[in-house]
Symmetry: C2
Subunit: 440 residues, 2 copies
């Protein structure tokens, strides 16, 4: 039985009083949902403005000494609408005045932006009858603006130690001197993870406007299936390869604490969403693949050198050249007397001539260095592949039937994924071939 | 039309007067065969002794001050038998006496061993009516005992400049001071390659007792097919993976000079054998795969580290640790936040604890390092795979049908090969599955 759930609601889940009502009914469905981390109100319709964007705009105008009353009026309206719609007692007008004065009075950019979550949390706390706990009192940044993980865990868990239901605004914290500092955009996900860890939650629920992660990019696959269960590792592989998921920093605290994250849809509260856990739960049946993600725009630097394989240290020298140009490599397939370094074409571009010149010097006339561009890398990820000996066969058969030429294969480091390289022009066809082979 | 062929005959091709007759008839079939490099007489039957082994034995006995007359008598008998059988005029008895006195008189180990080829070449030159050219006058080693490639090319081409047919004994050369020095065993192949390069031969024929290279190890595959045509690169890949072929040093001089090598069978002179060339000749049809070779006994060092992929230089640091332990790596499959280094278990053994300790220090608590042994690596090699999009599919389907679990895949650096890693216990089954898929 679940004892404690931390919920985080995204901006679209908090855009109107109607959305606030959905949130409350979701919390009422499950009394162990005892903590809530809100974002700032998001768009109500596609052309709408996000409160946070308006706050940034007000700050910029104020900085230039220009009036920002019209823009702030839009912000005021959003919060007042919600408060009126829900008959809230909190003095939101007074709080809005403080914010407006703060912006006019030269408060910092981070403070201004953070007020979106701050005000939203005040409304929500009032609506739910829960305690408001200011994130500035619990989330600590060091002087470089980096999260102080230990201090945060210490302060936040102390703040929430009484176990009473609380609303903690997302997106920001403060330096030790109390000055507000924000995470990068989307940082409310991080706040939710930190709160979940601080109260040692059983589950961290991240409520959004989608019913979990999709197995493939919906711009490539028509209505791709949802992922019901995924491990943090699988998710990391997919997100690295371009799948749009949670920010790394938002998974880290809960991943390390062994707390599963559940991606849920505020508009479909009974849909189980996607459960992200450290180890796959006891599953009746694991699908062979969990997801597919990929990226275009890689370059392959091919290096051939006579007797390379007999030369201890050659690979290290190649990677040293890449490192000194500050280029991380994605893959390094090796043959006999040949190796390739697969890198992002964009990252290579500013150093291309220098890197090639240095590699040429390394092979020193007894080999060759060449670059070919327009490589796509596609990762097919799935914990179900580990002991399934037919996966590679099915994957390459599907690609073969689609007449796609395999330029690179890398499998073995993580048993979770098979990585293939194809021409950029085959990118979409490859994802289609693999998806339909395994998902249907 | 071929202008000049250099031939090299192995020990089994020169074991008896009957074999000498075969050699002459081979040379007579093609008058452009104008140079011959002989090994020392090999075994006449499976329990027979090789002349070179007997010479080493005589030297060792002499060094210990023991009599070696009985052993030398066996050597004498071998050469006298051939000379008698072919009615040769050369004073082989006198030459044998000189050798016996040399051994007794404290001549060096290399000189003693080299007399097998020396005497054999004397007999052959007499039998063919060709010039005898001593390898000690043309093949030069530097003070470290390493072939002086430039000096050798210069002296050997000068010695053979008149274009007259010549016999040059294999296996040895000399330091600049004239002292005889040998290649490692099997070094007659190198001599043949150096002679072929010196006379700018059109083909270097290497006559043995097999009709060329086999597509797979006959201890694993029953009567594997012969390879009719292969490139030096393909051969290098197969030989690196354990196929028993020519020594690297025996391919290098001819490969670089663009001279093809033809492996032929003295006992089947009309069989075309295996042609090794720099670029594949104009072929009517190229088989998809050229050969399969592999090795058991690799270890996989798996390294996981949080956010490894965001850390420029991590791969370089890992390879530096391997380099400082003097361990070359075979493959380095990479995943997200994980990489593996595949190394020979034997090479890892003496440094295992140290390497693991250093890698543990590198991941520094935010990851893990583990080793799994008993990995086999199998390379499927073929220039016909380059633009054949179904090869990977067929290969993995065959493995899947044989219920073999793929532990690693590496393809991409060389488009010539697909490399798979499997459990040692699946080694033979994998080679069987792949062979029968592509060869039948």
């Amino acid at each position: 039985m679940l004892e404690c759930i931390v919920t985080k609601f995204g901006g679209s889940s908090l855009s109107t009083d109607e959305q606030f009502r959905k949130v409350r009914s979701i919390l009422e469905l499950e009394p162990t949902r005892r903590y809530l981390v809100p974002s700032a109100p998001g768009k109500r319709f596609s052309d709408d403005e996000k409160v946070t964007d308006l706050l940034y705009l007000c700050h910029s105008l104020a900085l230039e000494g220009k009036p920002f009353a019209d823009e702030f009026a839009k912000i005021r309206e959003r919060y007042m609408d919600i408060a009126r719609g829900l008959h809230l007692k909190v003095d939101i007008a007074g709080k809005l005045k403080e914010v407006e004065e703060g912006i006019a009075g030269g408060k910092g950019r981070d403070w201004c932006a953070s007020r979106g979550e701050y005000l939203c949390a005040l409304l929500m706390a009032d609506y739910l009858g829960w305690r408001f706990v200011d994130a500035a009192d619990g989330i600590v940044f060091n002087e470089e603006g980096v999260l102080d993980d230990d201090r945060t865990q210490q302060k936040l868990s102390a703040l929430l130690a009484d176990g009473k239901p609380a609303v903690v605004p997302g997106f920001y914290g403060a330096f030790e001197n109390g000055e507000v500092h924000t995470f990068t955009r989307g940082g409310s996900d991080i706040t939710g993870a930190l709160v979940a860890r601080a109260v040692n939650a059983d589950v961290y629920e991240n409520w959004t406007d989608v019913s979990g992660f999709l197995m493939a990019d919906p711009r490539i696959i028509d209505s791709p299936a949802e992922i019901s269960s995924i491990t943090y590792k699988e998710l990391r592989e997919l997100s690295h390869m371009g799948a749009s998921v949670l920010h790394e920093d938002a998974m880290f605290p809960v991943h390390r604490a062994g707390i599963p994250t559940n991606i849920r849809n505020t508009n479909k509260p009974y849909h189980p969403g996607t459960l992200i856990s450290r180890n796959a739960p006891n599953e009746v049946s694991v699908p062979t693949i969990t997801g597919i993600a990929g990226h275009k725009g890689y370059s392959v630097i091919a290096i051939e050198k006579n007797m390379m394989n007999s030369e201890v240290g050659f690979g290290r020298k190649v990677l040293q050249i890449m490192e000194e140009a500050d280029i991380s490599f994605e893959h390094m397939p090796t043959g006999i007397d040949s190796m390739c370094v697969v890198v992002s074409s964009e990252k290579l571009a500013p150093h291309r001539d220098e890197v090639l010149r240095r590699l040429e010097a390394l092979v020193d006339g007894s080999g060759s260095v060449s670059v070919s561009d327009h490589l796509s890398i596609i990762a097919t990820v799935g914990r179900g592949m580990v002991h399934n000996c037919g996966t590679a066969a099915r994957l390459f058969s599907a690609m073969s039937r689609a007449r796609i030429n395999v330029r690179m294969i890398d499998q073995g480091s993580s048993e979770l994924s098979i990585i293939v390289g194809v021409n950029d022009s085959d990118f979409e066809a490859t994802i289609n071939a693999i998806y339909h082979e395994f998902v249907g």
